[in-house]
Amino acid sequence: MSAGKYQGKRKGGLFGRGFQDYCDSLKYAMHVIFRPFDGFWDLVHEKRGSLAAAHTYLFLFLLTYILSLMCTNFQFVTAPIQYINIYEQCASLLIPFLILCLSNWCLSTLFDGKGRFPDIYMAMCYALVPYILIQLPMVLLSHMISYDEAAYYNVLGTISVIWPLFLAFVGLMQVHDYSPGKNLIFLVATVFGALVILFLILVFFSLLSDAAAYFISLYREIAFRLY
């Protein structure tokens, strides 16, 4: 698809030009997920995507995940819903996601990556779109099929995970302008980088709490002596 079609549409709609741009960048996700190599390149290098759209998709992703936990027909629910904490679930998706983006960005300097942090974040968020597009109808579908027909449901579920993973791979490759082999090595390094970041966070908080405890006890000691 050529770039001309999209540039021609910038005329400003009901909510002004900014909103029209936002809608265009949302719509561009459809192009990205079906033509990832071309799509991701244009997403960052031709400024087709927007951070606002990326935030939207991340939010929708979390929403979809929660919906599929809460609203899926009971035939296909395997997790004990009575024990699930929504905020915990969101955090368990969001935090690893952000840490992976961060570690990817940190390491891109070492690996000659071209991407900036917003680019990486945007590519990763756009890669989540197939999950939303498949999982939402799956919630509906789960109310229309019976347990014996679970095969369809499971296949869709598998696709909804594999597709975004593939997109994330391609997306990072295009954002950083890597070859596939280099990208693969880079991704492995990213995972290790994420572990290092986690470790640093833990160390930081443990030191912080130690420091806080020190000052608190210092204050108590002084208060005890003075009064």
């Binding site: 009971f74 035939q75 997790a79 347990y147 027909e149």
Partner: protein, 504 residues
């Protein structure tokens, strides 16, 4: 991504279940056994009314025995006669139950005409329908058969066969006799399965050998990382022995097995309970979410941790099988589908608890549990609740589905947490073609499969009833789509025409 989350959640659920377990050990009304429980769909522990209560506990003194029982090992019931294998005193006690009182009718300690005439450390006793008595006379290396008057009939000794390792002593520990007089012997040190003798005393081979399970890492370790000397020091991979056997009315052998690692329970590799057919294959039905293994959870670090060790098994006439756990002194009942009906019991000194659970038998629906250290026999009788459960499953087996639903309603009145009752009612509703209500009941029991089945019928009904509406909506959607496409195409054509006009 999703799979791992499910796993995490499952782990969470397991932890919760484990923590709720601690509270469930103490009794409420003095009998620790009265604390009956069951597991729900999430394998959480659910308190339940008592299915069985202690009717009486029989000690040596109650039987007016001159020499008290000493390490009794086994019970056997035939009609209203109870046989106790009093191993430490080398004798068999024959008790009769009349008006709920057990009294000794005779003490069998000799076999007339056998050599030797006395027993040495007998392990088990069995009686066939004709009244012939079989004793697993362990240290005399024989199974001795006598008639009802204690006259020697036959003995089954070490098979003179190449398949039997002649270096091993023949130490029969447990026996079972089927209706045609075949004798199945569980012998110490024999790991090829059960030793089978025909009615005429001839040895006809082994059945039901435990398949050897080899852990991959063990195998790699032993093959590549140990020397020959080290290997000879270690235990080799051998099939394990069974712990106990029972023959049901149809001639199937139920066997329990306690030699397995905790890890093997995870994917049902351990199979602590088996039902062997005539060629020795395990045909136990397991339709529950968890296989029948006794307790699903236990408190780590407590004295009685570890998986349930099922010392004995007994099978009621309605194919409900009941096992006796050594680890925590529990008795578990399972229906023919492998679904746990109830569990109760504990290990201590109180009435209805056990010190050394060793053998379990049934007389009708009453349970008789033998305690080898307490030297006592505990008699349990069913409560209203236990009776209702049996009645409902009997009615279901007989095909009286509506009747069983009625009974299940009664069960629910006593225990609203009883999954099996919801499933039973759901099935009956489904037979009455009340699919929507059936779905509701299946949902309450988390029965995915039956829910799906009911839902399919429900969906079919809905589609058939509303076929016209569906057709109209479908046609309307297609019509709208075609129109929109047509209009779009026309617009494009017009635009193209205009462009051509302009460019000219």
């Amino acid at each position: 991504m999703k799979r791992t989350h499910r796993l995490l959640l499952l782990c969470m659920a397991l932890l919760l279940a484990a923590s709720s377990f601690t509270g469930a050990l103490a009794g409420e009304d003095g009998y620790s056994t009265s604390y009956t429980y069951n597991y729900d769909y999430w394998s959480d522990l659910r308190e339940s009314p008592d299915a069985y209560r202690v009717e009486q506990v029989i000690y040596s003194a109650d039987l007016a025995l001159e020499t008290p029982m000493n390490k009794p090992q086994s019970l056997f019931v035939r009609g209203n006669m109870l046989y106790v294998c009093d191993t430490g005193n080398n004798r068999i006690l024959e008790l009769k139950r009349e008006n709920n009182v057990f009294s000794v009718t005779r003490i069998i300690d000799t076999v007339k005409g056998a050599s030797p005439e006395t027993f040495s450390n007998p392990g088990d006793v069995a009686v066939d329908e004709a009244g012939n008595i079989y004793v697993a006379d362990t240290n005399n290396n024989r199974v001795v058969m006598m008639d009802a008057e204690q006259n020697f009939v036959r003995e089954y000794t070490k098979p003179d066969d190449t398949t039997f390792d002649q270096n091993l002593g023949f130490l029969p520990r447990r026996i079972a006799v089927d209706s045609s007089g075949r004798v199945f012997v569980l012998a110490t040190n024999v790991n090829k399965g059960l030793v089978k003798f025909e009615a005429d005393g001839s040895f006809t081979g082994f059945i039901g050998a435990n398949p050897v399970t080899v852990n991959m890492w063990d195998y790699i370790w032993k093959t590549f990382f140990t020397t020959k000397e080290q290997r000879s020091q270690q235990a080799s991979f051998v099939p394990t022995e069974y712990e106990n056997i029972y023959i049901d009315d149809e001639g199937f052998i139920y066997a329990t097995n306690i030699n397995f690692s905790e890890y093997d329970l995870l994917y049902d590799n351990a199979k602590p309970i088996r039902r062997l057919n005539s060629i020795g294959n395990d045909i136990l039905i397991k339709n529950d979410r968890y296989p029948p293994i006794g307790d699903l959870y236990w408190v780590e670090g407590s004295a009685d941790k570890g998986p349930s060790k099922l010392k004995d098994i007994t099978v009621l006439d309605n194919d409900i099988y009941i096992v006796f756990d050594r680890t925590r002194g529990r008795i578990f009942g399972y229906d023919p589908q492998g679904i746990m009906l109830w569990a109760f019991g504990s290990k201590d000194n109180s009435e209805g608890a056990f010190l050394g659970p060793i053998s379990l038998e049934h007389m009708g629906t009453d349970l008789l549990a033998l305690d080898e250290f307490g030297c006592s026999i505990t008699v349990f009788t069913t409560t209203e609740y236990g009776d209702l459960i049996y009645q409902a499953s009997d009615q279901y087996l007989r095909g009286d589905y509506d009747g069983s639903a009625e009974t299940w309603y009664e069960v629910l009145r006593l225990n609203a947490n009883y999954n099996l009752a919801y499933v039973g009612i759901g099935r009956a509703l489904m037979r009455q073609e009340r699919f929507e209500e059936a779905m509701e009941y299946f949902k309450m029991a988390y029965d995915h499969e039956n829910y799906g089945r009911a839902y399919r019928y429900f969906r079919k009904e809905q589609v058939e009833d509303n076929i016209w509406a569906i057709a109209v909506v479908l046609i309307a959607v297609i019509a709208v789509w075609l129109t929109v496409r047509g209009v779009k195409g026309m617009k494009e054509e017009v635009a193209a025409y205009e462009r051509r006009q302009v460019s000219r």
